[in-house]
Assembly symmetry: C2
Homo-oligomer: 443 residues x 2
Amino acid sequence: MSGASMLALNAFDPDGAAALDPVERALVERRAAVFGGAVPLFYDRPLNIVRAEGVWLYDHENRRYLDAYNNVPVVGHCHPHVVQAIATQAARLNTHTRYLSEVVIGYAERLLATFPAPLARVLFTTTGTEGIDLALRLSRVRTGRSGVIVTRFAYHGHSVAAAEITPAFGSGVGLGAHVRTVAAPVAGARPEDVGPAFARAVAQAIADLERQGTPLGALVLDSVLSSDGLFVDPPGYLAEAVAQARAAGGLFVADEVQPGFGRTGAGMWGFTRHGLVPDIVVMGKPMGNGMPIGAVVTHADILADFAARTGYFNTFGGNTVSCAAAAAVLDVIEGEGLIASAQKVGAHLKAGFTQLQAGLPCIGAVRGAGLYVAVDLVQRDDPAAPDTALARRLINGLRERQILISTCGPAGNVLKIRPPLPFSTANADQLLQATGELLAGSA
Amino acid sequence: MSGASMLALNAFDPDGAAALDPVERALVERRAAVFGGAVPLFYDRPLNIVRAEGVWLYDHENRRYLDAYNNVPVVGHCHPHVVQAIATQAARLNTHTRYLSEVVIGYAERLLATFPAPLARVLFTTTGTEGIDLALRLSRVRTGRSGVIVTRFAYHGHSVAAAEITPAFGSGVGLGAHVRTVAAPVAGARPEDVGPAFARAVAQAIADLERQGTPLGALVLDSVLSSDGLFVDPPGYLAEAVAQARAAGGLFVADEVQPGFGRTGAGMWGFTRHGLVPDIVVMGKPMGNGMPIGAVVTHADILADFAARTGYFNTFGGNTVSCAAAAAVLDVIEGEGLIASAQKVGAHLKAGFTQLQAGLPCIGAVRGAGLYVAVDLVQRDDPAAPDTALARRLINGLRERQILISTCGPAGNVLKIRPPLPFSTANADQLLQATGELLAGSA
């Protein structure tokens, strides 16, 4: 399935509807009647989820599923502190940023305090896609250039402009003529080769954009290369490429929708693992633990250039309820020590998969940073060949054992393990044991 | 200020900070430090709003302001039924559309039931901007064409693609080369001339797009022409232009972000006032009474074309809490008879302004549909000349009397009156009396 769309990864095939129970089958049919098959649904046997708590999702028969996939509920599903903040604020006031509000301004100050000094201004959006889209507008105004470099299977959003820089949509959605892609690092490359190889690819893309008359405006990178299959090491490997982009007149836009808010266990933001300070940072998904909110954080002068040309107003962006939820998320990340926990449990999980790898030739590589772990499944007789079918069997096998993960990477053979941050060592052990048993049975 | 940006309409001038009380001044300064002056703030003396209820906003000194402006809280600020739905659902589950969910599917079915039959499919977005952006993607896939026609001061959103079809941003943000604008109707034109004149303008734009090699893909219209200054009559005047667009191979995209959810008092959707059935409908702002949610509703075959090429997943789009809030909004619109009320109170308001007009030469025209009313302020000695300064004085004067409205139209001289739908006849009378007194004093 190389070259396929990330929308197809781990998707339900409607031909499998006969295997469902009556409640599930009825919902699948009603869903198809309203969404027309355009919206992907997870798993061979889709889940009907009715409630959730912490790292657990529950279906209509009160079966409980361990959530090792969802990063939006970063502090855990329905965290009582966040739920209380939402309920209280929704009953008091929910409005926009054209009035003054301590809730909104106070949250903006707290958020900005988590960034290194030059990153001193914020614009609230409602989603990460809107953030990427706005970052492209800021970058075009600042540099006067439209050229963009992204990684080869990057996902940056679903608006027209974000889709133009999202190769993960596959061949059905064209990349912009102003966009070039660079390969993610090769699994198993020597650490000292990773940064130089990535920088060479970026240099070639810069030269190519210049030859085509659309010089580089922005190098847009998810600092964990999530959609490409998660390439996080060695820390710092992105720095040389970023320096080259800047030398060529481009900005470095960090897409922190995936690594942000402590996921990597190495601080709040993924870019710090690389010793970098971006020109523009985009964040989204986990920011409000499910309440829609995103943001663009940038330098004062980049925003000033934009403000001199136009302004920014986003009806739901920075609404009072979303800001109250987002402030509660910061409370919990700090109060429950979730970044340290992500570091500890993530290391345990990675070590566990590395141990499994020793006895299972179908595990080609294990990568990870904090509570984002990727495991390559490969053909037993050819470790360079992805085993997409095995990955699909495994995630559906785990789903039958009531553990939820997904896949990533261009071939769909990379296990994507990205739980809410309260995921514990015991939760990790449950996932490791089930994975080990299923792979031993399949191998 | 003709040609200025809609972002500048009714905006606070930071030079006025000295006139503020210490609480307001401190917030204005802290806000400037985080947003860098890029995000507009309303009124010469900005409001610090801390709570709200129904049609009332309250500041930090518990002063109460009559809200005749905000359309997002369509069923009233902090409506208890919606607040309860948010609180209950936020405590139970907030997740995405890749699992089955009765809450999400059930709401989709209820929403679709409000549309005429060919409009049978929905995609949930998080915002109206994302909806417009997605409508452009659907339309390009369906027609294979990128040409777009919009009205001359239209606002359709802030993403790269939405901004390209948003002349209301002014000269700082370029329209796309594939975009043509058509003039809104002329205030005071004979009713029988309005439709033909608009259709002629659209025909010319179609021809121009064809000559430039970017034939029409979509005619995108807000059926009340909100940003252009609100042109609603005679009902049906858009039909001829829409027929021409279709004859030329384009789709009709109805931007219902403003008129939708009962505002016009003539049913749920603005396009029905014109006897039209769109190919694609976009909605947003009022849909969740402040909980971020938007949608695109379209024909099964238009969505099937898109699904054959790619799919659609939007992390927060159709999240469980937003759908629960949106379902509660439908409950209240139906249960409290808000569409009929909008019709009745809107007619009262329009009649009241028409009465004021008789004695006040500064009122050039009064227009409206339901609880969306526009009043042109003009020079006493030249009814064709907008009086932008008077409009600005008036809305700031009303703010001092604790009544909130804004302005619209390319010259910023059109009073924009667009309250939450529970706005009563007594609320209307309070606004009419204050406006009459202020204009009599100014005139």
